[in-house]
Amino acid sequence: MATMKFLCDTKRCIECNGCVTACKNENDSALEWGIQRRRVVTINDGQPGEASISVACMHCTDAPCQAVCPANCFYKTEDGLTLHNKDTCIGCGYCLYACPFGAPQFPKKGAFGSRGKMDKCTFCAGGPEENHSDAERQKYGSNRIAEGKLPMCAELCATKSLLAGDAEIISSIYRERVAYRGSKNAIWG
């Protein structure tokens, strides 16, 4: 079984927001107004040490969102992805508090915790509904994994900064890059 992960190479990310657009376009059927599953954050913008990084759900092996959810609506797929069931979600917002990456998003932010159903990156793997069904498209967006494809954000990344795939494969690609760059300043940290 694969363990799917994202990896963003900050030495390659040029803050083009192509991944953001790709994600929005690919999963549009499921996205309520204002929800953005992936974003690019630039730290030290305009200063020495500027770096951009594309952030979405990191599909943690030991997911904090899953640990705090009162409704227990999260589940792990056989590919190691962290997905959730919107029919069970009660919109309490605990996953948003627990997630280190700010991945869970809610359509509303009202009194009495009326936030609506949580939405987050699915690694373009849909949800618990039947693959490619209408219900899946409406609630979770596309399901490229079922077609044997990788997430749209990484596939469309122009500089191949954002990598998606089995952890072992993408980390070996990254290791190779670092070796070629041949400088201690060329690694991620």
Binding site: V41, T42, D45, I53, N85, I90, Y97, P100, G102
Partner: protein
């Protein structure tokens, strides 16, 4: 003419190269700051924020770091503790009553009812109490339901159940807080600790029907030491549970950070455990343990025998100062 140009040209070249050399010299030695310097990861882990086009909540911060032990604290400690505070306390109390028996009124009911609580007091009690019971049950579902309940029912039923629990929990919070505020402020003057409360504690209120405690009737004023303990625990943890609950209930008003919300969740659970355990004791004492006790929060009157047996100092006091009032 040609020669003249050559000379000027040479001078210029020498001048510029001299400036160039001087610059080169000055930049050597002082190391150029490298763009990222291997610091990105440590900056991000420390919670660095940046610029993003996204308007999503907290989206300008790539990583929010907090103590991850919070997660295990909730699932491994707080959830079982709240379950134990409810069901464990019920089991303990049922066993205790089986072994110990209840506290009977000596000589039975007198039939004369003494004024103890106003109609307003009774109504604010239930204003807080009914929501409190619902909050305990729904709160237990939200904190621990996934561990002890969900495995035994279907997915759809669970989804409906937990959603209903959240809705009830959210809306019952308001009357609960109102009841808490009124009870805490209006009743506090009768709940101040006195010296005789220590003696009451030493003999566990005289409720134990065996050994050296048997047949004891310690002094008690309007409220006994146990009731005072419950009152102050309810006042303090009611405040903590209300404040932390407000943060979680109105994120649009208070805009708490994610870490603060997690801390609020933990404080909320801890307070809930204490209030739940006390509530079970309180309910058992009033309904089963203390014969004639329930009447106080039904009509506001208590039996004269009950008053002299359980609150002798208060009963003596009202007899003396003439505020004793019987039900007609």
């Amino acid at each position: 003419m040609n020669n003249w140009f050559k000379q000027i040209g040479l001078t210029l070249v020498l001048m510029f190269s001299a400036i160039g050399l001087a610059q080169a010299g000055s930049s050597q030695g002082a190391e150029q700051p490298v763009a990222t310097d291997g610091q990105i990861w440590s900056q991000l882990k420390a919670g660095a924020t940046g610029v993003t086009t996204s308007h999503g909540e907290f989206h300008n911060q790539p990583i929010n770091t907090y103590d991850l032990r919070v997660l295990e604290l909730r699932s491994d400690l707080l959830a079982p503790a709240l379950t134990a505070a409810l069901f464990g306390m019920i089991i303990i109390f049922v066993l205790f009553i089986k072994v110990n028996g209840i506290s009977k009124l000596h000589g039975g009911f007198s039939g004369k009812l003494v004024y103890r609580w106003s109609k307003f007091d009774v109504s604010i009690h239930w204003l807080g109490a009914i929501p409190c019971l619902l909050l305990i049950l729904t709160g237990l579902t939200l904190l621990a339901g996934r561990f002890f309940f969900q495995p035994y029912i279907g997915e759809g039923l669970w989804a409906g159940f937990v959603y209903a629990a959240k809705q009830v929990h959210d809306f019952m919070a308001i009357p609960f807080m109102l009841g808490w505020a009124l009870m805490t402020t209006l009743w506090a003057k009768n709940q101040l600790p006195k010296m005789y409360d220590l003696k009451w504690m030493m003999v566990v209120g005289g409720y134990i029907n065996f050994g050296p405690f048997k047949g004891k009737h310690p002094d008690a004023g309007f409220a006994n030491a146990g009731e005072k303990l419950w009152f102050w625990a309810f006042a303090v943890f009611g405040l903590v549970i209300s404040a932390s609950g407000m943060l979680l209930l109105f994120p649009n008003l208070f805009e708490p950070s994610r870490t603060l919300s997690l801390i609020a969740l933990v404080l909320h659970s801890v307070s809930a455990i204490i209030i739940t355990a006390f509530s079970i004791v309180h309910i058992f004492m009033a309904t089963v343990m203390s014969e004639g006790g329930m009447e106080c929060m039904v009509s506001g009157y208590c039996d004269e025998t009950w008053a002299s047996q359980h609150h002798n100092l208060w009963f003596d006091e009202i007899k003396e100062n003439g505020t004793l009032k019987y039900k007609d």
